[in-house]
C-alpha cells in the first residue's frame, strides 16, 4: 500500500509494465506523470527509452514510429495537448498500434483552464481508441496495467486511453494498493506483435527489417479501399468488448479488485427506482449521496458508473437499468447545439430500441473544474423524482452549478 496521487499511481503502473519507449510533453495536470517517469528512468528503475518531445503532436508521432517498430509504448497528456494530437490519434488506430495513453482530463481552452472536465477526451471519442474512465487513483493504476493487455491482444490491436480527473484525482493522495513487480510483469509480459500475411509470407506487423518481407505502413487510400480499412477498425472495436471483460476478470483474480464487469459498475441498483449515470470521480460523490440517503431511509437511488466509454456498453446498460423509472445522466462536457452532452446522447441511443424506457434527464455540470457537491447532486435527485412524478419527459437540459 502506497500513498500516491493519481498521476503517481499511473507512473508507478507504467514503471512495472515493461514499457520500451516513452515520449511525452508536459501539460498541467499530467506533469507529475512525466516527472515521475523521468525519475524512474534516471534511477534505472525503469528501463525504457524516455524522450522529451518538443510538442504533443511530436510526442504522439514518436510513439507511432516506436510502436510501429514493435515497441511497447506509453504517453500521457491533457486538454490542449490531446487536441494537438488529434490528427495523429486517427492514424494511430488506423495503423492498429496498441499504444497506451493516460489522459488527465482537463478542460479545453478557451479561455485557458487547467481544471477538470471531460471535454478533451470526449472530443476524441470517434478516433477509434478504447476509452476507459477511472474513478480514482487505485483504478487508474489497475487500468493502465490492463490497458497494455487489452490493446496488444491480437484480436484487438487498438490504442487505449485511460482517463483520470485532473487535480481531483491526479493531485489527490490516496491509499493505492500496488501489486508486486513480478506479478505485474507476469500479467503484462512483453509486447508480442501480431502477425500479418503479405506477399505469401507471415511476418510480425512491424517495421523490423529482419522480417522476411518488408512492410509498408501508411499508404494512400483512394475511394476504393478506405471504407474497407475503416470497417476493419470497427470490427476490432467490437472484438475488444470480450477482451476488455476477460482482461478485467483476469486482473481481478490477481489483484482482488474489480470494477463491475469492466464496462459498467453499479452501486445500489438492486432496489433502485432512480439511477444516476456518470463517469469518473463524480461517481464517488454520488456513492456518498446514496449512502447518506440510505442512512435516512431512502434506498431508491442507485448509480451506474460507465467505466468503458469506447466501445460503448449499449447492451449492458438496458439490463442494468431494468425496473428504473428515472435516470439522470451527468455529463462533464458540453455539446454546444446538441440536445445534451455525449453521455446523455449515447445512453438514450442505447435505450431507445431496448425494452427499458425510463425517463432520462440530462445534466451538464463541472465544466472547467466547477465543483459538484452533494447538495447539487441532491437537487438533481429531487429534480429527477419530480420528472417521474409528473409523468412527462423533462425536455430540458439543466446546467447544474452555473451562475445565471
Amino acid at each position: 500500500m502506497l500513498a500516491l496521487n493519481g498521476d503517481e499511481a499511473v507512473a508507478y503502473a507504467v514503471k512495472q509494465s515493461n514499457v520500451d519507449v516513452i515520449a511525452a510533453f508536459p501539460i498541467t495536470p499530467q506533469t507529475i506523470i512525466v516527472e515521475k517517469l523521468s525519475e524512474y528512468v534516471a534511477n534505472g528503475e525503469l528501463k525504457a527509452y524516455y524522450a522529451c518531445a518538443e510538442s504533443e503532436h511530436s510526442a504522439i508521432s514518436m510513439i507511432v514510429g516506436a510502436s510501429a517498430a514493435g515497441a511497447r509504448t506509453f504517453t500521457a497528456t491533457s486538454a490542449n495537448g490531446l487536441a494537438l494530437m488529434h490528427e495523429i490519434l486517427y492514424i494511430v488506430s488506423s495503423l492498429r498500434l496498441p499504444v497506451v495513453m493516460a489522459i488527465v482530463n482537463r478542460a479545453l481552452s478557451g479561455p485557458i483552464n487547467i481544471h477538470t472536465d471531460h471535454g478533451d477526451s470526449m472530443a476524441e471519442r470517434d478516433a477509434c481508441w478504447i476509452q476507459i474512465y477511472c474513478e480514482d487513483a487505485q483504478e487508474a493504476y489497475d487500468t493502465v496495467i490492463q490497458a497494455f493487455r487489452i490493446g496488444e491482444n491480437h484480436k484487438v490491436l487498438l490504442p487505449v486511453m485511460v482517463m483520470l480527473d485532473g487535480f481531483l484525482i491526479s493531485h489527490t493522495t490516496q491509499n493505492v494498493d500496488v501489486l508486486e513487480d513480478e506479478k505485474v510483469s507476469n500479467f503484462v509480459k512483453h509486447r508480442i506483435p501480431a502477425e500479418i500475411e503479405v506477399f505469401g509470407k507471415k511476418v510480425p506487423l512491424t517495421l523490423n527489417p529482419e522480417n522476411e518481407v518488408p512492410l509498408t505502413f501508411g499508404p494512400l487510400d483512394l475511394w476504393d479501399y478506405y471504407f474497407e480499412h475503416k470497417r476493419q477498425q470497427e470490427d476490432a472495436m467490437e472484438k475488444s468488448r470480450e477482451v476488455i471483460r476477460k482482461v478485467h476478470d483476469e486482473y481481478a483474480k490477481i489483484s482482488g479488485r474489480s470494477y463491475g464487469n469492466g464496462f459498467i459498475e453499479t452501486y445500489n441498483m438492486d432496489s433502485a427506482e432512480y439511477a444516476f449515470i456518470c463517469l469518473s470521480s463524480t461517481a464517488g460523490t454520488v456513492k456518498s449521496l446514496i449512502d447518506k440517503l440510505i442512512s435516512k431511509g431512502d434506498d431508491k437511488l442507485g448509480l451506474v458508473r460507465i467505466r468503458t466509454f469506447r466501445p460503448f456498453p449499449y447492451e449492458e446498460l438496458p439490463k442494468a437499468l431494468e425496473g428504473v423509472k428515472g435516470v439522470a445522466v451527468l455529463d462533464r462536457s458540453g455539446a454546444f447545439g446538441a440536445m445534451g452532452g455525449p453521455v446523455y446522447n449515447e445512453v438514450r441511443s442505447a435505450l431507445y430500441d431496448s425494452d427499458v424506457h425510463p425517463f432520462i434527464n440530462g445534466y451538464i455540470y463541472g465544466l472547467g473544474g466547477r465543483d459538484m457537491t452533494m447538495e447539487m447532486l441532491k437537487s438533481i435527485y429531487d429534480d429527477l423524482v419530480e420528472t417521474v412524478k409528473s409523468g412527462k419527459p423533462k425536455r430540458k437540459i439543466e446546467f447544474v452549478g452555473v451562475r445565471e
Partner: protein, 93 residues
C-alpha cells in the same frame, strides 16, 4: 464504380492498411509517348543513363545496357544526358 465492387472485401485484405501488391506489378510503361532506343554500337556502357533514370528502367546485366520498357515513362533524361548520344527518343506507334 462496377470495377470497385469486384475488389477484395474488408475480411480479405490485410489489416492496418498494409499494401499487398508490389508496384512492379504496375507497368508505368503505358504512360509513354516516346521511348528511348539505345544504339548499342555507340554505347560506351558508361551507365550515365542508369544513374539518371527516375524509374530504375535502365538495366545493366553486366554486359549491355537495356531499357526496361515495362516501366520506362519516356521522360527522355537518358537521351539528353548520354555523353555519346547513343540514345534516341522514338515516338510510340
Amino acid at each position: 464504380m462496377s470495377e470497385d465492387l469486384a475488389k477484395p472485401g474488408w475480411k480479405q485484405i490485410p489489416i492496418a492498411g498494409v499494401p499487398f501488391k508490389k508496384a512492379t506489378e504496375y507497368h508505368t510503361g503505358d504512360w509513354r509517348t516516346f521511348k528511348p532506343v539505345i544504339d548499342q554500337s555507340k554505347c560506351t556502357k558508361c551507365l550515365t543513363c542508369w544513374i539518371f533514370c527516375p524509374d530504375d528502367s535502365i538495366v545493366w546485366d553486366g554486359n549491355t545496357v537495356q531499357v526496361d520498357y515495362r516501366y520506362c515513362k519516356g521522360c527522355g533524361i537518358c537521351a539528353e544526358m548520354c555523353p555519346v548520344k547513343a540514345i534516341t527518343m522514338v515516338k510510340e506507334e
